[in-house]
C-alpha cells in the first residue's frame, strides 16, 4: 500500500474485516532522520556501542517511529490524515535495526474491530519486525464520513 486511498465511509466499514498488511523498511538512515525531525536524540537510536552497553542487542528504532508507521497505515486506510480521534499502542519488543543496507522491516496489519456512535470506527493493529510483535494493544479510533 502506498500513497493515499479514497476515503472509506462509516457505512463501508464492516466489523471483522481484515485489512491488507503493509510493510515498511527501516534503516539506520531512517533513524537518523527521525532523530533530527523529532528532536529525540536518545543515543540508543544511533550508537550501537551505547545500545549494547545498556543491554540492547543493537541500535533500536524509536518506539514513536514504529507508531508513526502504524499511524500512516491507519490514515492511508481511512483516506483522511486527520481522521484519528484516538490512537494508542504498547511497545512490546524493540525493532532492532542492523547497520547494513537492508535494515529492518516493519509489517503492520489491522482489523476493523467495531463501530461506535458519532461515525467512529475502531481498528485493532498489529506490527511485527524480525519475528517479534513490536506493537501490542494497538488501537486506533477514526471518525469517518
Amino acid at each position: 500500500m502506498s500513497g493515499v486511498t479514497s476515503p472509506v465511509s462509516y457505512a463501508d466499514a464492516v466489523p471483522g474485516t481484515e485489512l491488507p498488511a503493509a510493510t515498511y523498511p527501516v534503516t539506520r538512515l531512517s533513524l537518523v532522520k527521525y532523530c533530527g525531525a523529532s528532536g529525540d536524540f536518545n543515543v540508543i537510536h544511533w550508537n550501537e556501542r551505547v545500545a549494547r552497553s545498556v543491554g540492547l542487542p543493537d541500535v533500536i528504532a524509536h518506539g514513536m517511529f514504529t507508531m508513526a508507521l502504524a499511524g500512516r497505515y491507519v490514515t492511508d486506510w481511512a483516506g483522511d490524515a486527520g481522521a484519528l480521534v484516538e490512537f494508542g499502542v504498547r511497545f512490546s519488543a524493540p525493532v532492532v535495526v542492523p547497520d547494513d543496507e537492508v535494515g529492518a522491516v516493519i509489517e503492520v496489519s489491522g482489523t476493523v474491530e467495531g463501530k461506535l456512535d458519532g461515525n467512529r470506527v475502531v481498528l485493532g493493529l498489529t506490527a511485527r519486525s524480525g519475528g517479534a510483535k513490536v506493537l501490542t494493544r494497538a488501537r486506533a479510533v477514526v471518525r469517518l464520513p
Binding site: 533530527g36 514513536m64 484519528l84 494508542g88
Partner: protein, 148 residues
C-alpha cells in the same frame, strides 16, 4: 536510588509557545516516509478541508516532549534516563495540528508503578492553542529497567 513517589500528580510548567510550521511538518513526514500530500501541499490540505497543511498524528510528540521532558529530566524525580525505554503511548485528538497553530504543552505525572526492578512512569500532556483550544492529549509511559 529509585523513583520519588512524591512526584505522582505533580503538574509541570506550561511550555513556551510552539509555532507549527510547514517546513517542520514536511521534514517530519519525510522522516517517517509518509508521502501523503496533505503534509506538504497546502492546496491538497485545503481540498481535504483543512486550513493549511496538517501534521501526521504522531507529530504531537514533538511538542509534548518539551513538556514531558521537564518532568522526566527533573533531578528530584530520580529517573535513570539511560535505562529508559518507551513502554506505551496514546493520543486523544480534538483535531489535527496544522501549520500556523501556536500551541503550548503541559505535563502531569499521572502514574508511577513499580513491578520488581522495573519502574513505569506515566505522563499526561495536554496540547492547547495559545487561545486555549484543546488539540491533543498525549499519555506516555516510560519504563525504567533495572540495572543491567
Amino acid at each position: 536510588m529509585g523513583i520519588n513517589r512524591d512526584y505522582l500528580g505533580r503538574t509541570f510548567p506550561v511550555t513556551d509557545p510552539y509555532e507549527v510550521s510547514r517546513v517542520k511538518i514536511a521534514e517530519f513526514a519525510g522522516a517517517i516516509g509518509d508521502p501523503n500530500p496533505v503534509y506538504r501541499d497546502r492546496a491538497a490540505a485545503r481540498a481535504a478541508g483543512y486550513p493549511d497543511v496538517i501534521a501526521p498524528p504522531t507529530f504531537a510528540v514533538v511538542i509534548a516532549m518539551a513538556a514531558s521532558g521537564m518532568a522526566v529530566a527533573d533531578p528530584g524525580l530520580g529517573l535513570n534516563y539511560a535505562m529508559v525505554l518507551h513502554g506505551e503511548q496514546r493520543f486523544e485528538y480534538s483535531r489535527p495540528l496544522h501549520a500556523g497553530d501556536v500551541v503550548t504543552a503541559q505535563s502531569t505525572i499521572s502514574g508511577i508503578r513499580e513491578v520488581g526492578s522495573i519502574t513505569m512512569l506515566t505522563t499526561e500532556t495536554e496540547i492547547r492553542t495559545v487561545d486555549g483550544e484543546h488539540v491533543c492529549t498525549g499519555f506516555s509511559t516510560l519504563v525504567e529497567r533495572g540495572e543491567a
